[in-house]
């Protein structure tokens, strides 16, 4: 029933796609066929065993073509603390006129790029994920019409960050926004990319976002994502990173909004000497479900991967961290570490942590760890014995817990913004 509805919607779109390149049409067909065959994942699927998506599958989300009226006040607000290069995407549409982009990089609406510069995109589409059996990824490939292509030329050291704001003010209930983004950093280039997801209004909607990232030889990308969508929003996103020789990728995820939000990072250290650092903080309350998934594949020697995720969960919220590190036989001298720590602020909050290491090489340094606990009674006592009230003491301790993962040198410019999100969430919790 659900699958049929998507199939019908797909058929309707098909007629209008005659001008798309052959390769993309083929990818879309394959993706749709895969989705029809498999349908949505259930709790029986290994990758989805902790997160029930019935609320998404039963809602029958539908495309929304509307654009909200954007007052100067709203635009100003969205631009706030988004210095440097600023890209505005509203209800899935890239609004170039409200954006501010240096001429040194090439930023194109994905729909436009497909028609005018398909050769820039083709090599980067679906390149690593033939094996990923994921319904949401398939649907994204079959349906996407919006998103951006960002190309950073060789050797360019981009001083100002690229900040992409995805703002949603749904024009109807059960709207869905598929966004597909392709980011390519040329050899020896360096950039900082920030994605922010905000929304307005309380309509139920669904963000389905896929980013494909390529780091050519020696490229360096610092990536941050802030997801703070409304309480009725669903958010399922995956970021696929392909790293070539000696490249370096670091990421930070703040997941705090939405009813259900799932973020997956899939990194392939495809050539020698590549390094990645994946970090995240998930802050849940109410009945939120916040799901973090990572997959790092060490394919070649001398790769490094480091992961640190932290969760703060209150109410009846649920957190998931499922991280898998795969070290291929060829990937000697791999250095891979993974840690997940979560703090439960109520008796009814819950975290599922599942670290997995699969090592086929023999000369490696790998570790993983998980710790789930509650606020330490002795630490609370210490703060209260200094005159700090019980609630404030809890807030100070929880904030301290979060800081380890926020205070990263590459994110210095975002630190205050991130701390504000943390404090906003904690204030609700402890007052």
């Amino acid at each position: 029933m659900e699958v049929k509805k998507y199939q019908e919607a797909y058929e309707k779109l098909r007629g209008g796609r005659n001008n798309e390149p052959e390769w993309l049409l083929r990818l879309r067909e394959e993706a749709m066929a895969a989705f029809i065959q498999r349908g949505f994942p259930t709790l029986r699927a290994e990758a989805w065993r902790y997160t029930d998506v019935t609320a998404i599958t039963s809602a029958l989300f539908d495309a929304d073509e509307s654009l909200p009226s954007l007052t100067p006040g709203i635009i100003e607000n969205l631009k706030k603390s988004s210095g440097g290069n600023f890209l505005l995407i509203v209800n899935g549409k890239f609004l170039k006129s409200h954006s501010r982009i240096t001429d040194a990089i090439t930023v194109t609406d994905i729909g436009e790029a497909i028609l005018s510069r398909p050769e820039l995109l083709e090599p980067h589409f679906n390149r690593i994920d033939a094996s990923v059996e994921d319904a949401f990824y398939s649907l994204n490939t079959a349906f996407f019409r919006s998103g951006v292509s960002i190309q950073v030329p060789e050797k360019l050291i981009l001083k100002e960050p690229i900040q992409v704001v995805f703002y949603t003010d749904a024009g109807k209930e059960n709207a869905v926004y598929y966004s597909r983004n392709v980011i390519v950093l040329g050899a020896g280039s360096k950039a900082v990319l920030v994605e922010k997801y905000f929304s307005s209004g309380e309509k139920k909607y669904f963000t389905n976002s896929v980013a494909e990232v390529v780091l050519e030889k020696g490229a360096v990308l610092d990536h941050a994502k802030i997801q703070d969508e409304g309480t009725e929003a669903f958010h399922v996103a995956s970021t696929h990173i392909l790293q070539r020789h000696g490249s370096s990728f670091s990421s930070f995820l703040l997941s705090t909004g939405g009813k259900l939000a799932r973020n997956e990072s899939r990194v392939t250290l495809h050539e020698e000497g590549a390094a990645c650092s994946l970090n995240g903080l998930y802050l849940g309350d109410g009945a939120q479900v916040l799901d973090q998934q990572t997959y790092v594949e060490h394919s070649k020697p001398d790769g490094k991967s480091h992961q640190l995720f932290k969760g703060l969960l209150a109410g009846t919220s649920r957190g998931v961290f499922r991280g898998r590190v795969m070290v291929r036989q060829d990937a000697q001298r791999t250095d891979a570490h993974q840690t997940n720590k979560a703090l439960l602020l109520s008796d009814t909050a819950k975290v599922d942590a599942e670290p997995q290491l699969e090592i086929l090489a023999d000369d490696v340094k790998c570790s993983h760890g998980a710790a789930i606990g509650q606020l330490q009674e002795d630490a609370l006592f210490y703060l209260r014995s200094r005159g700090i009230g019980e609630k404030e003491a809890g807030q100070i301790l929880a904030q301290g817990f979060a800081r380890e993962v926020i205070e990263r040198p590459e994110l210095e410019f975002l630190k205050d913004v991130l701390l504000k999100f943390v404090n906003k969430k904690l204030e609700k919790q402890f007052t």
């Binding site: 006592f381 210490y382 014995s385 200094r386 005159g387 009230g389 003491a393 100070i396 301290g400 380890e404």
Partner: protein
């Protein structure tokens, strides 16, 4: 200032304090000595309000109020301070931020204006002189990576900053080398005043070489078995706790 009567305290169902009577008047320094396991730390923690310690009998009256009816933070705001034997590490919480929260919460409760960042730094610099601490301590997480001596100095810094009426020091001398012991003791001496009382809990007499107590009590088996003047401490040092037992 503080009047403890027939105090019985249990931890996890085991009775540790078995009837303590102690009266501390304003400006007095009381030393409580005793062997390991006699209940010294239990006494300090129950006064500060640690939730694991259950009062099964008796009372403690602080400035005319029932101490055991007061929340942990209210005791602190009204002038009870405990310097911990093992101050806990608090990763991610900046020492200056912690101290500022503590000072301002306390000031608020005492009807004083809160200090802003600049005023606080100035205020704290004065207090840091008391324990000869340098400013690098302020930007580190609370107690994290501090040596034993640094932790104890941080406790005395908090004592100086919070300006309590009743300061309870739980084995502040333990784990200190002689230089640190001197600094900490001199810090305490500078903070002595006719309005402020001290309870010094210690296993050894050596801290009392630097801080002269008005009264010395011996705590054994959960009871105060002997009280006297400062000379009692020397006697204990010389003869050991066994001497009291017989």
């Amino acid at each position: 200032m503080l009047e403890i009567k027939d105090l019985h305290v249990s931890v996890e169902g085991v009775e540790i304090l078995k009837g303590i009577d102690l009266t501390v008047n304003a400006g007095e320094v009381h030393a409580i000595m005793g062997p390991n396991g006699s209940g010294k730390s239990t006494l300090t923690r129950v006064l500060a309000g640690h939730p694991s310690y259950v009062v099964t009998r008796g009372s403690a009256t602080y400035e005319g109020k029932d101490l055991f009816q007061m929340a942990i933070e209210d005791r602190a705001r009204q002038g009870v301070f405990l310097a911990f034997q093992y101050p806990i590490d608090i990763p991610g919480v900046n020492n200056a931020y912690f101290l500022k929260s503590a000072v301002n919460e306390t000031r608020k409760a005492r009807g004083l204006e809160e200090l802003d960042a600049m005023e606080f730094l100035e205020f704290l610099r004065e207090k840091m002189k008391v324990v000869e601490m340098d400013e690098s301590f302020l930007n580190r997480p609370v107690n994290e990576g501090f040596s034993g001596g640094e932790k104890k100095r941080n406790e005395i810094l908090q004592l100086a900053a919070l300006n309590p009426k009743l300061a309870i020091l739980d084995e502040t001398d333990s784990g200190l080398d002689i230089d640190a012991l001197k600094i900490v003791s001199e810090g305490v001496n500078r903070l002595r005043s006719p309005e402020r009382s001290f309870i010094l809990v210690t296993h050894y007499q050596r801290m009392l070489n630097y801080i002269t107590p008005d009264h010395v009590h011996v705590l054994m088996g959960g009871k105060i078995v002997l009280s006297g003047g400062k000379d009692l401490a020397f006697k204990l040092e010389e003869k050991g706790y066994e001497w009291v037992r017989v």
